[in-house]
């Protein structure tokens, strides 16, 4: 039986921040899924925008945890504080905090003090942060769409205090300069209403901010685009910049599908990315 024409062309995935995060930071089935999904494509393209989001979101959270452990010198206090921040529902059967408590009760070969446990976790976080950051450009076949106003400043440990610092979370703009994406975005103003339409019914802080920046671009294109505007584009960035012959690979299909579809593109989840050997077509539609 002749193979489908589509199977002859190389498969290409445009990687969003959720996949990058899972592949670099998660050592659980979710992480395994992301890592194998990346292998299912002939080409995997990582835009620098995803690195920027990764640094200011998940990586920054782990840096916060590291510094919290350093400051409290107590795993139990840190977990209590986290429990408050995460505001778990009372009837939730098991949380990550329970899992950590169980691990420390049964895992290490000898009973550790609370401070030792804090140091053990802090060291693990430091290792994970530095290892993930150093691998960020190595998990895909290519890194694309460099951002001239964004420099990937390394997170580092301050020698004097032992604290992690995470400089350069957003683009650096000087004087009247606007974001390096401004000119390309303003040259395709027709796409903005399509994206705004696609977001109808979506609520929440992230969506509200995205809608605001899309409205600003569509209605007042002469206004300069700030570093915050750039950061607030979020998922819309991937719909706008994914090459038309690629599929956006994400775990957040709920938000990505409407945006991608509005611009005639496709978003798929890691479950739909099957190993190349298993199917003539590398990645299938969900």
């Amino acid at each position: 039986m002749p193979r489908k024409q589509e199977s002859l062309s190389p498969s290409k995935a445009y990687i969003d921040t959720t996949i990058l995060t899972d592949a670099l930071l998660k050592k659980n089935p979710q992480g395994d899924k992301a890592r194998s999904a990346l292998k299912a494509f002939d080409a995997t393209i990582l835009p620098v925008y995803a690195i920027k989001e990764f640094k200011s979101g998940p990586l920054d959270y782990f840096i916060y945890l590291h510094n919290k452990l350093l400051s409290t010198k107590s795993l139990s206090q840190t977990l209590r504080a986290l429990g408050t921040l995460l505001s778990y529902q009372k009837n939730r059967p098991r949380t990550a905090i329970d899992a950590i408590a169980d691990l420390m009760a049964s895992g290490p070969p000898r009973k550790m003090t609370d401070e030792e446990q804090a140091d053990l976790f802090r060291g693990a976080l430091a290792r994970l942060i530095l290892a993930a950051w150093s691998k960020r450009r190595k998990v895909t076949t290519a890194v694309s769409d460099e951002l001239s106003c964004y420099s990937e400043t390394d997170p580092k440990i301050e020698i004097r205090t032992g604290r992690f610092s995470n400089p350069g979370k957003i683009c650096k703009l000087y004087g009247p300069n606007e974001c390096c994406l401004a000119s390309s975005l303003k040259s395709r103003l027709g796409d903005m209403p399509k994206l705004i339409d696609a977001m109808k019914g979506q609520t929440g802080r992230e969506h509200t901010r995205r809608r605001e920046v899309l409205h600003k671009l569509a209605n007042t294109p002469k206004k300069p685009m700030s570093a915050f505007d750039c950061a607030r584009l979020g998922d819309a960035y991937f719909a706008l910049y994914a090459p038309s012959d690629s599929k956006i690979l994400t775990t957040n299909l709920r938000d990505h599908i409407p945006l991608a579809t509005a611009l005639g593109k496709t978003a798929i989840g890691p479950d739909s990315a099957r190993p190349r050997s298993e199917s003539g077509e590398s990645a299938r539609q969900p």
């Binding site: 959720t18 995060t21 979101g57 905090i97 290490p108 000898r110 693990a124 290892a131």
Partner: protein
Amino acid sequence: MTTPASQIEVVQSTTTGASNQTDLRPHASDAITLEVKSTYSEEVQDLLDDLKYIYGQPSERLGQVLTLLSSAIAASKEAIEFEKKGENIRADEKMLYVQALLGDLFAQRSIGDGFSVVVGALTFAFVNKEGMPFDGPQLFAVLRTLNSIRTAPFCSTEAAIPITEVLEDAGLCVDPAPLSDLLEDAQEAGIVES
């Protein structure tokens, strides 16, 4: 030449908390504690001399760390030999001893941040095995890691990363698994946007 664990001179003691004591018995509140004597083996003395040349007069803590590491390395080598001969239970026994020593090594973590990261990674490598025995390449990876940290006990956290990668390359998970869940919970709660 390596120093087998049995050659470390030990003195039974009932006191706890002194900086030069090591508790090798897991989960035992009334554990017999072992004092590592300040007379070092020839091998440890050679290492101390080398490090003295680089860093100046070594501390007593460093001597203890090197002695513990030598014991762990010797036990790892024995485990590899047993595994090669198919004596898997004896190999696993040796690794249980290495795991016990890791607790004592971690207690000496003030020697350096990189040291703490490497010993922590080894600790989680054992924890994540959930009691399953190490295979041949994993035993070699543990040995290589112990050797690396023995030659650079004062390494920085950054320099510790490639040392621990040897463990990951052998299929060992060196991160606490619940950290992944912690990230997922934060994403679900909307604290982390991604």
